[in-house]
């Protein structure tokens, strides 16, 4: 232990002694660490934004959805008897924070200037304060969505149909029995776009959705379950437990299928059953079509990190080669007064690791600072990127775990980069080293 401390002291003194080199190499390590922190923060930020936007707009952390088939070929995305089903879920999931019911439908929204196909979401706005917070209302009053036959549309949709608050639109669809029906709605609010989901989603009161699809009051589209924060990352076992509880309660449950409900229509329509089947999904299932953005972003981050680390390793190795060359006589002297080969190697390893640790700490502080500045600056995301990132400004999330990971990774990589030069230095014979000139 004492020897270790002595070696550590010598290593630190060496770093101080060769101040210029230490500053140069330490800065490079700090920059790499900072970039690593920022890339991780970007990836985490996008993931957080995606979860937040999506779980507010169109999915819970867990969902109980399903299909009711009047005939084998006629499937409606509805959950019958939802209050009893919610009761089962509440018993099965103590991890549940709260749950909301959302109507689901697909219809044509028609105005004087045109039309678009839309996923119609039924919402009880009074019961969803988080929804109100998640949306940035451009015009109108979101609370008016509590009134029957009102609709919330997004900026791009309003622009396409030249809609203003108070304008009338007709929503045209078929009931679950395939009968044509319409409702006339007044635009209550226009919200700013929040990515891909706002391209096709619109919101109307649950009661209006029930009128459109001729649904009974005990029928809804899906039960969206929000979990307490500590359970959000552990969805698979909770989904499995919920599925099994529903089955035990006598409900028919669909096989796990990691796709959003609207991608399951064809599969469900091909099957011969009729009546109700429930479906348990996670937010990742419901947003499976968006998850590739996270995967792609993570992939790009990993590639960039590998390149940066490779550059850093090359720099450290080169610098140590030079240092060893410069300090060959010093190594010879140390070996001559009795320092073992292992201690010499350890000395250089400690020097590099200490450099990595210091550079890493500085890099993390820099990264966190830059991330805070970027968040404060509310840098706008280009429109095309908004589609997938589901945010209109760049959000970077620096998490303590990611910070620790960055410091440990950089320290270990710095040490690893020094391994070969250190072993080479340790292999020098004292006589040769002391007679070295250069």
């Amino acid at each position: 232990m004492f020897a270790f401390l002595v070696d550590a002291r010598i290593a630190l003194l060496n770093l101080v002694e060769h101040r210029r080199r230490t500053i140069f190499l330490g800065s490079a390590v700090a920059v790499v660490t900072m970039l690593l922190v920022l890339l991780t923060a970007l990836s985490t930020g996008v993931r957080q934004t995606l979860i937040h936007s999506a779980t507010t707009l169109s999915t819970g952390h867990l969902n109980i959805g399903g299909f009711y088939k009047v005939t084998a070929g006629q499937a409606g995305p509805i959950v019958t008897d939802y209050e009893k089903v919610l009761g089962v879920a509440q018993k099965a999931l103590p991890e549940m924070d709260f749950a909301v019911e959302r109507g689901r439908g697909w219809a044509k929204v028609v105005a004087d200037r045109g039309s678009f196909q839309s996923a119609i979401n039924g919402i009880d706005i009074g019961a969803e304060p988080a929804f109100k917070k998640a949306l940035d209302i451009e015009s109108g009053n979101i609370d008016d969505l509590a009134k029957p036959n009102t609709i919330l549309v997004f900026e791009a949709q309003a622009k396409k149909l030249e809609l203003k608050v108070g304008d009338a639109v007709t929503i045209s669809s078929q009931t679950t029995r395939g009968v044509a029906n319409t409702i006339d709605c007044r635009v209550a609010a226009i919200a700013r776009d929040i990515g891909l989901l706002s391209q096709w989603n619109t919101f109307i009161p649950n009661e209006s959705l029930r009128t459109l699809y001729q649904l009974r009051p005990d029928v809804t589209g899906a039960i969206q379950i929000m979990l307490k924060p500590q359970y959000v990352e552990h969805l698979a076992p909770l989904a499995a437990r919920l599925r099994s509880s529903l089955e035990q309660a006598g409900y028919r449950v669909m096989e796990p299928d990691a796709r959003p409900f609207w991608m399951k229509f064809q599969t469900v329509s091909r099957e011969d059953w009729t009546g109700q089947k429930y479906d348990v999904t996670t937010w990742e299932d419901e947003l499976q079509f968006l998850m590739w953005t996270l995967t792609a972003l993570n992939g790009i981050s990993i590639v960039l990190v590998v390149i940066l680390i490779a550059i850093m390793v090359t720099g450290i190795m080169n610098t140590l080669w030079i240092a060893i060359r410069e300090r060959t006589r010093e190594i010879g002297a140390l070996r001559a007064i009795g320092m073992q080969r292992g201690a010499v190697a350890r000395l250089f390893l400690m020097e590099a690791s200490a450099l990595g640790l210091l550079g890493g700490c500085v890099g993390v502080v820099l990264g966190a600072g830059v991330a805070a500045l970027v968040n404060a600056a509310h840098i706008p995301v280009p429109k095309a990127a908004q589609l997938f990132l589901m945010a209109d400004t760049v959000h970077l999330a620096v998490e303590p775990g990611a910070v620790m990971f960055a410091i440990v990774l950089i320290t270990l990589v710095s040490g690893a980069a020094a391994l070969y030069p250190s072993l080479r230095a340790a292999r020098l014979r004292p006589v040769d080293a002391m007679s070295h000139f250069g």
Partner: protein
């Protein structure tokens, strides 16, 4: 006594004068209801082939701000078991696609994916504003209860107007229909379809009717050569159907099968 007789005679006279026409009106109204049912049956019967049917149809869908979609298709029907099939021939992208009704299910086949998809019977054919029922045998009397809505002059034609309400328990695309029928020929001249909410969704015109002799029926049958649908929700959208050829000869027994439809795109 004499006075009493006079009062009784007066009462009888008044009763006859007041209730007589009313009674005759009730009789007329009842007859009108039956007449409407008979008229609706007549509309169906005129078009019923009671055998096999093959027609070549042209479908054109115009939508605001979009390029017109045009299809050439063959429609096959068999009255005996209500078989129905559509095979698209043009455009190239839709060649080999088709709809087949098996029992109460309508199936759609796309050779590009090689899969059958079960669709609702009230599916918009090829994404146009036409439905399966627009190409199928007329079954208005089976599906709707008619009510007299008076008469109207529709161009040169005297039309009987009827309000049709979907019969309970039947899943119909349009729960309410208003129908204009030529009083002379019993051909449909105009039709308006309404949503459950009462909103007018589609107005159809049947400007040309043609007759053809049916061996299986041993009589002439009538079919609309041209049908024009106007979307009443999206006012600028319209669909045109032209029935260009009709062949009433017997079709192959195994025609109404998935295998047959699949074979057409191999």
């Amino acid at each position: 006594m004499k006075k009493n007789r006079l009062v009784a005679a007066l009462f009888l006279l008044v009763t006859t004068a007041v209730l007589g026409p009313l009674r005759s009106n009730i009789a007329v109204a009842a007859a009108t209801k039956q007449e409407m049912v008979d008229l609706l049956k007549g509309v169906d019967d005129r078009q019923k082939n009671q055998g096999d049917w093959k027609s070549g149809v042209y479908i054109e869908q115009k939508e605001k701000g979009k390029v017109a979609v045009v299809y050439d298709a063959l429609v096959f029907r068999r009255s005996a078991d209500q078989k129905f099939m559509i095979l698209f021939q043009k455009p190239k992208a839709s060649e080999g696609q088709g709809y087949l009704r098996v029992d109460k299910n309508l199936w759609f086949y796309d050779p590009a994916v090689g899969k059958w998809e079960r669709r609702t019977e009230r599916e918009r054919i090829g994404g146009t504003n036409s439905r399966r029922s627009d190409f199928d045998e007329s079954r208005l009397a089976e599906e709707y209860d008619p009510e007299d809505a008076g008469t109207e002059k529709l161009g040169a034609y005297d039309a009987q107007v009827m309000n049709l309400k979907g019969k309970a328990g039947l899943d119909l695309a349009f729960p309410v229909i208003k129908l204009w029928v030529d009083r002379d020929t019993k051909n449909v001249l105009k039709r308006q379809e309404f949503a459950l909410s009462g909103r007018l969704l589609r107005t159809s015109y049947y400007p040309k009717w043609k007759k053809i002799f049916s061996e299986s029926k041993k009589a002439d049958i009538w079919y609309p050569q041209e049908i024009r649908f106007y979307d009443e929700v999206e006012k600028e959208n319209s669909t045109l159907i032209l029935i260009q050829t009709v062949d009433l000869h017997s079709l192959e027994p195994n025609l109404f099968t998935k295998a047959w439809l699949e074979s057409k795109s191999r």
